[in-house]
Amino acid sequence: MNKAIVTVKNVGKVYGSHWALKDINLEIAPGEIVGFVGPNGSGKTTLIKIMAGLITPTEGIVNVPKEGLIPDSAGIGLVMESAPFAAHLSGYKNLELLAYIKNVISANEIRQAIQIVGLDPESGKKVGHYSFGMRQRLALAQAIMERPRLLLLDEPTNGLDAQAIIELRDTLKSLAKENGIAIFLASHLLTEVENVCDRVLMVKQGKIRKTFNKSDNGRAPVIVQTTDASDIEKLLIWLKAHGLTYQVLKANEVSIDIDMPVPQLVNSLVQANVNIEGIIKKAPTLEEEFISLLIKGE
């Protein structure tokens, strides 16, 4: 992993007597897309606000980039759930005003950002006449126009149609890959988060409970179905002999936690006289992991 450009150490935030976040530790490398999922009120927006400097943590340390890829520009781009722009101005004019705070990018760079998100920079249409999806795209354009090193996105797909979600996914991936922008994304759309993120943190009651890592998919459990129940006995004996952990799912189905390639496993089981009906190696989806965390509490 490249040197982390975002470091969150033991961060906690308390409101009254309620800890909205507790013991949050996180590092994000340049070009990495990290997802953050959890039920409502689990502290997702609070963490994004802390990282953006909008609120200060009660405890812990947060290090984020102070400067973007352009000298003197803002180090962080932010998209929140709402896209609050001046309704009487065009999309370009709104962004021009925000860019004027730092005054480090040209009109062309603003237009480029608007184009990247699929809007027309020359359109004089007032933001008040934009659809919610168009506002969300404009919010993304304002976040990326000054080339920040870190992009914080809170529910960026809210109100977007399927086509727009796919385009947003491609845009985020290319921003991370081509510009090395680190992206931290909180969303309820688990499939989208799984598709776009390299790593997903699952949070519950203000604490990170589990990390879903795409690169761990090689270690996915293997599910073996035997021809009948008697073969299960042979299979279990073989598993115990090799010290492997397993879970019996059905009378003729076992889930095995194994690092061995599937063909090699099949060979070994055949040699052990286990009649195999079927075999599948499948990593749990983010949704399955999320359900097991939230509902089963695993």
């Binding site: 400097g53 909008l54 962080i76 932010l78 001046a86 005003l97 705070i101 730092k102 000054e146």
Partner: protein
Amino acid sequence: MIFRQIIIELKRLMTRPIYLIAFTVLILLGMGLIYFSVGDGGPAGPGEFAAPDASGYWTAWSALLRVALPVFLLIPVFIGFIAGASLAEDRHSGYWQFALVRVNSRIKWVFGKIAGIFAASFAGTSLSFLLLALFSFLLYPSAPLDASIASFNEEFFGNSPYLYLGSVAVMLGLGAGAMAGFSCLASIWIKNPYVVGALPFAFLLFSLVPYSLTRLQLFDLFSLLSLQSTYLSFESITFSWLVYLIICYGGAIIFFGRESIFNNKKGILK
């Protein structure tokens, strides 16, 4: 950066349709009063709206300062309404978050925002007064400023009528700024932009009516309503506005500089 924030706020506020409409309507109202109420420019007739100045003739000064005076009370209130609600609107919509990640300092952002609100209310009000003055001077003869016309009785204004004009423009601008500041301060407790914006009306009542009722030589509302000569103390009025400006804007900067204010989504009152 604060200068740029002021420019941004001026552009955001002064291009708003509601601002432009209020500005245009009030200017037209003032122009209408100046044009239609004065009569033919000769001595005042029995049905005319108000008396001419001491010379017995309508002049640009008497048309501007006598007939259009009610408009100069309304302009700061309406401009203050629109500008003062801006802070509550930003808080309500979440726009402040976009700005704050760029400014990186809450105090700097609040200071820039409030300076912009003051600049927008000051500029709009002063400009409207000067526009009406221009209209009046184009329409009527610009005779010397008569002491009976000047609302402020400081003697030196008699020798420097254009200094008087500028001073009134500045004083009205400060008044509008104070009213917007009152809204800014109220935004701490009230999050609804419309309620906050409406507070300049209350501000006007609370600040002027008691003075008028007690006749503390600051303002005589009764005289104003009858469009008779009204003498005010320029220093007292300006001093009052400055005190309001310091209290309202200072309070707003101190309170909004604290993060708990912005992260209290509901406000104390809705």
